[in-house]
C-alpha cells in the first residue's frame, strides 16, 4: 500500500462514509489472525464509533470486552487498521450498546392490554430533546436575529456571546432555539446540560436539605454548556438566585457557554437580584417577537413538510391570517388538519379547513354584526352609526373596510349579507374592500398589528 496515494481529503471522506466498511475489512483480517472462539467472543458487536485525527474510537458492548481487547488485541487491531488507512494512530474505546439490534419478529398474542408506556424522548443525561434542531427551526424575519445569535454561539461557544439571553412570549420558539444550540454543541462533543429554572431550584433545595450542596455545585460546574429555560421563575427565590450567581461566575470565568431564556427582558424582571440581572445583560440579549403573517406561512409550510402533507397556498394563507401569534396554536391547527385528511384519505379544500379550524381561531361566531361594528368603531373612536351611513369620509371608510374584512375572514359572513347588514351596500363593494385589505396586509406591518389588536378586542 502506498501511503502517498491518500490525500488528507480522502481521509475526511473516509471518516464519514467508510468507517463501517473499514471496520468490516479490518475484522476479516483480525478473524484470520486469532482463534474463532476468541473472535466470536470479543469482536462480535464491535464497531467504529468515530475516526478523528488519527484516533479510532471503537464501540464495544461492555467493559469486560473493552478491557480484554485493550489488553490483548490492541496491537493487532492497530496494525490491521494501519494497513487499511495509514492515518490510524491510536485506538480509544467507548462502551456502547447498539440500539439497532434485530427487532424480534415475535408478534405476541395481545390478549392482555399493554401498559401505554412511552419511551422517554428526552435524553436523560443532558435533558435535551433531539427533536429540536437548527434543521427544524424555521427562520423568518421575526426571529432572524435570535437565530443568527444562536448560530454564532454554536460556532464560538463561550467566546462570542456569553451569556446568550433569549426572551419572547410563549410559543415563539425560545425553547426550540436554545435546545437547538444544545443539540448542535453536543454533536461536537461538548458536555451540554439543559435545565428549566424550576428544576434547578428544586434540585438546589433538595441538595440543601440532604446536605449535599457541594455535590450539587460540582455537578453543574462540570458542564461545558449550561442552558437554562424560563429563568423568570427564579424571581423571589433568593437562595437559588445566589447559587445561580456563583455558578454563572464560575462558568463565565472559564469561558463555558451559558444560554438563558425568559419571557421578559432582564431589565423588567422583578424580584430578581440586580447583580444577576446585570449579568444576564452582559452578553447578548435578543428578542423573539410574534411571527408576522408571512413567517407564520413559512412555519406552516415547514411543519406540513415535516408531517409529509402538502397544503395549498390558499389554506396556508387562511391559516396564517386567522391564527395569529403563537406557533403552538398553528401546530395545533395543523395537527387537526393532518388528522382529518388522514381520516378522509385526501387533501382538504379551503372550505373544509375553514370549518375544521373554526374552533382554533380565536374569534367566536356568536358575536352579532352590530357588536363587531360597535367594537371596531370604538377602537377607531367614531360613531357606530356612521358605518351604516352612505358617507365616504376617510375616517369612516377605513374602519368600514376593516369591518367587512373581519366579518368575512373571521366570521365567514357571506359577501351579500355583509353588504346588506352594513347599510344596504352592493356585494361587489364588499369584495373590493376585503381584497384591498388583503393586498395591503401583505406588506403593511402596522395594519397587521391593528387587525391583531381588533381581533383581541373581539375575543
Amino acid at each position: 500500500m502506498n501511503p502517498t496515494s491518500h490525500s488528507p481529503a480522502s481521509i475526511v471522506r473516509t471518516e464519514q462514509v467508510d468507517v463501517k466498511q473499514m471496520w468490516d475489512d479490518a475484522l476479516v483480517h483480525i478473524e484470520l489472525s486469532i482463534t474463532p472462539a476468541n473472535f466470536k467472543t470479543w469482536f462480535r458487536d464491535t464497531h467504529i464509533v468515530s475516526l478523528e485525527g488519527g484516533t479510532v474510537t471503537l464501540g464495544v458492548p461492555s467493559v469486560f470486552v473493552r478491557d480484554w481487547i485493550a489488553d490483548k488485541f490492541q496491537a493487532l487491531i492497530l496494525k490491521t487498521l494501519r494497513e487499511l488507512t495509514p492515518y490510524a494512530r491510536s485506538i480509544e474505546y467507548a462502551v456502547v450498546q447498539r440500539s439497532d439490534r434485530r427487532q424480534g419478529s415475535s408478534k405476541k398474542q395481545t390478549v392482555n392490554a399493554a401498559l401505554p408506556l412511552e419511551e422517554y424522548y428526552i435524553n436523560k443525561s443532558d435533558n435535551l430533546n433531539p427533536k429540536y434542531t437548527f434543521e427544524t427551526f424555521v427562520v423568518g424575519s421575526f426571529n432572524e436575529l435570535a437565530h443568527a445569535a444562536a448560530k454564532t454561539v454554536v460556532e464560538k461557544p463561550g467566546i462570542a456571546y456569553n451569556p446568550l439571553f433569549i426572551y419572547g412570549k410563549t410559543g415563539h420558539g425560545k425553547t426550540h432555539l436554545i435546545q437547538a444550540v444544545g443539540n448542535q454543541l453536543k454533536r461536537v462533543g461538548k458536555k451540554v446540560f439543559y435545565v428549566t429554572s424550576e428544576r434547578f431550584a428544586v434540585d438546589y433545595m433538595n441538595s440543601l436539605q440532604s446536605g449535599t450542596a457541594n455535590n450539587f455545585k460540582d455537578r453543574y460546574r462540570q458542564y461545558d454548556v449550561l442552558i437554562m429555560d424560563d429563568v423568570q421563575f427564579l424571581a423571589n427565590k433568593e437562595k437559588t438566585q445566589e447559587e445561580l450567581f456563583h455558578l454563572f461566575n464560575a462558568m463565565h470565568d472559564t469561558n463555558k457557554q451559558i444560554v438563558f431564556s425568559s419571557d421578559v427582558h432582564p431589565a423588567l424582571m422583578l424580584n430578581m437580584e440586580e447583580r444577576l440581572r446585570s449579568r444576564f445583560a452582559q452578553g447578548m440579549i435578543v428578542d423573539i417577537p410574534a411571527p408576522d403573517s408571512e413567517s407564520r406561512g413559512a412555519i406552516l409550510k415547514a411543519k406540513a413538510a415535516q408531517n409529509t402533507i402538502t397544503l395549498s397556498d390558499d389554506v396556508v394563507n387562511h391559516l396564517s391570517s386567522t391564527i395569529e401569534g403563537n406557533v403552538r396554536e398553528l401546530e395545533g391547527a395543523l395537527n387537526t388538519i393532518l388528522c382529518q385528511s388522514q381520516l378522509l384519505g385526501r387533501t382538504l379544500s379551503l372550505d373544509e379547513v375553514r370549518v375544521l379550524i373554526k374552533n382554533s381561531t380565536r374569534p367566536r361566531k356568536s358575536l352579532a354584526v352590530v357588536d363587531v361594528v360597535e367594537k371596531i368603531s370604538q377602537y377607531f373612536d367614531i360613531e357606530p352609526t356612521s358605518i351604516y351611513e352612505k358617507t365616504r369620509r376617510k375616517e369612516v371608510v377605513r374602519p368600514r373596510q376593516l369591518i367587512m374584512y373581519i366579518l368575512r375572514e373571521d366570521f365567514q359572513v357571506s359577501y351579500p349579507a355583509i353588504g346588506q347588514k352594513l347599510g344596504g351596500r352592493d356585494h361587489t363593494t364588499v369584495i373590493h374592500s376585503c381584497e384591498k385589505i388583503k393586498r395591503e396586509l401583505i406588506d403593511d406591518r402596522d395594519l397587521e398589528e391593528e387587525i391583531a389588536q381588533i381581533r383581541s378586542l373581539l375575543k
Binding site: 472462539a37 478491557d67 456502547v96 450498546q97 424480534g104 390478549v111 392482555n112 401498559l115 422517554y120 436539605q209
Partner: protein
C-alpha cells in the same frame, strides 16, 4: 509455585457465589472456571460470565505466589465434601492439588491466559444498607421483561425519587411494580438500569451483609463490596419509560379484601384457568367475586367478603400477573384500586405504602 492453606469454610462461601456466575460458555470455555490467584498472603478467587464478575479474597498462610484456573463446579464440589477445617491448595505443573489432613485431590487446570479481567469500579463509592437494597431488588425482579427486544425493560430500574430512599421499578409492559425502600444518607446521582438476572445475583450477595456494604457505580458498571466479596455488573444504557404518567390519578372503585382470602380464592380459580389464564374479577358493594372458566375443565366462582367504595365493575385479568405479586405482600389485607374498564388496576397493601403494583386487564 503456589502453595497455600486456607480456611475450608471461607473457601466454600466464596466458591458458592462464584459458581452462580461461572456458566457454560460456548466460545470461551475458561468462563466455566474460577481463577485462583495468590499474591503474598491473599488468595483471590474470580469468576465471570462477561455480564457479572465476582472476586472473593481470603487470607491464607503464605506459601508462594501463583495463579491457576480450574472448573468451578469440580472445585466447589470437592471443597464441599472436605470435612477438615483447613484446605491446602498447591499447584504442580498443570495440576491443582487440593489436600486436607485426610484427603488428596488433583484437579486438571486450564490455561489462565484466556481468563477475562473483572472491571474494578471505584467511582461514587458509598455505603449502602445491603439488606434493604437486596429487598428492593428481590421484591421487584419478577416483573421484569424476560424478552430481549427491549433491553431496558429487562432491567431493574433503580433511582432516587426521594432522598434517603431508593426506588426500584420493573415492568414487562403488562404489569409494573414499584418498591421504595429506605436508604438513609444514600445519594444516587444517575438512575441505574441493572439487567434483572445480574440484579438478582447482586441482591444475593448484598443480603449476606453482616458488615458495611459499599456500593460504587460509573457510567457502565455498578459494583458492590460486601466484606471480602466484590461483585460487579454491567448496566444497560438506555432509558426506562416515564411510567409515572400511566399510574392512574383517579379511581372509580376501591375494594379491600383479606390477603389470605384472596390467595385462597386464587388457588381455586387456578384449577380452572383457560390457556390465557383468564380470571374474571367482579366487584360490587359487598363482595369481590373471582371466577375462572376453562372449556376443558369446567368453571368455578369464589366470592370474598370485601369493603368496597365506588361503582360496581367487572374486569378480566391474567391470573398469573395478579398471583405473582402476592408473595411480596406481608400485610394481612390488600386494596385493589380500579380506574375503570380497560384501564390498569393497582394493588396495594393496606398499611405498607412502599409498594405499588399495576396490572393491565385483558382486552376481552
Amino acid at each position: 509455585m503456589m502453595h497455600v492453606t486456607a480456611d475450608t469454610q471461607g473457601l466454600r462461601k466464596v466458591l458458592e457465589i462464584a459458581s452462580r456466575v461461572s456458566t457454560k460458555h460456548l466460545t470461551l470455555p475458561v468462563l466455566q472456571c474460577v481463577l485462583l490467584k495468590v499474591v503474598g498472603s491473599t488468595l483471590t478467587i474470580s469468576a465471570t460470565n462477561l455480564e457479572i464478575g465476582v472476586v472473593g479474597s481470603l487470607s491464607v498462610e503464605v506459601g508462594g505466589d501463583g495463579e491457576v484456573a480450574v472448573p468451578t463446579q469440580t472445585l466447589l464440589q470437592t471443597i464441599n465434601l472436605n470435612t477438615q477445617k483447613h484446605t491446602t491448595l498447591s499447584l504442580e505443573g498443570e495440576v491443582l492439588h487440593v489436600e486436607t489432613k485426610t484427603s488428596k485431590t488433583a484437579i486438571k487446570s486450564v490455561s489462565t491466559e484466556e481468563f477475562p479481567h473483572i472491571p474494578q469500579v471505584t467511582e461514587n463509592t458509598q455505603s449502602i444498607n445491603g439488606v434493604l437494597f437486596a429487598q428492593g431488588i428481590k421484591t421487584t425482579v419478577f416483573a421484569a421483561s424476560q424478552s430481549s427486544i427491549k433491553p431496558e425493560l429487562g432491567c431493574v430500574y433503580v433511582f432516587q425519587k426521594k432522598e434517603h430512599t431508593l426506588t426500584f421499578t420493573t415492568t414487562d409492559s403488562f404489569r409494573l411494580i414499584e418498591k421504595t425502600a429506605p436508604q438513609h444518607g444514600f445519594i444516587l446521582q444517575d438512575s441505574l438500569l441493572i439487567p434483572y438476572k445480574n440484579a438478582l445475583e447482586i441482591a444475593r450477595v448484598a443480603e449476606l451483609a453482616e458488615d458495611v456494604v459499599m456500593f460504587s457505580t460509573n457510567e457502565n458498571q455498578c459494583a458492590l463490596t460486601v466484606g471480602n466479596i466484590y461483585i460487579t455488573s454491567r448496566l444497560t444504557n438506555g432509558s426506562f419509560p416515564d411510567y409515572e404518567q400511566i399510574i392512574p390519578k383517579e379511581y372509580v372503585t376501591h375494594s379491600t379484601v383479606l390477603t389470605s382470602d384472596f390467595l385462597h380464592a386464587l388457588k381455586k380459580t387456578n384449577i380452572f384457568l383457560n390457556k390465557f389464564m383468564q380470571l374474571t374479577v367482579v366487584v360490587d358493594t359487598e363482595s369481590l367475586t373471582l371466577s375462572a372458566q376453562s372449556g376443558e375443565v369446567g368453571t368455578t366462582t369464589e366470592s370474598l367478603h370485601a369493603a368496597t367504595e365506588g361503582d360496581a365493575i367487572t374486569l378480566n385479568f391474567n391470573q398469573r400477573y395478579i398471583a405473582e405479586v402476592l408473595p411480596h405482600i406481608t400485610d394481612d389485607s390488600i386494596t385493589l384500586h380500579f380506574a375503570g374498564v380497560g384501564r390498569p388496576m393497582v394493588i396495594e397493601s393496606v398499611h405498607d405504602k412502599s409498594m405499588r403494583y399495576l396490572v393491565m386487564p385483558m382486552n376481552k
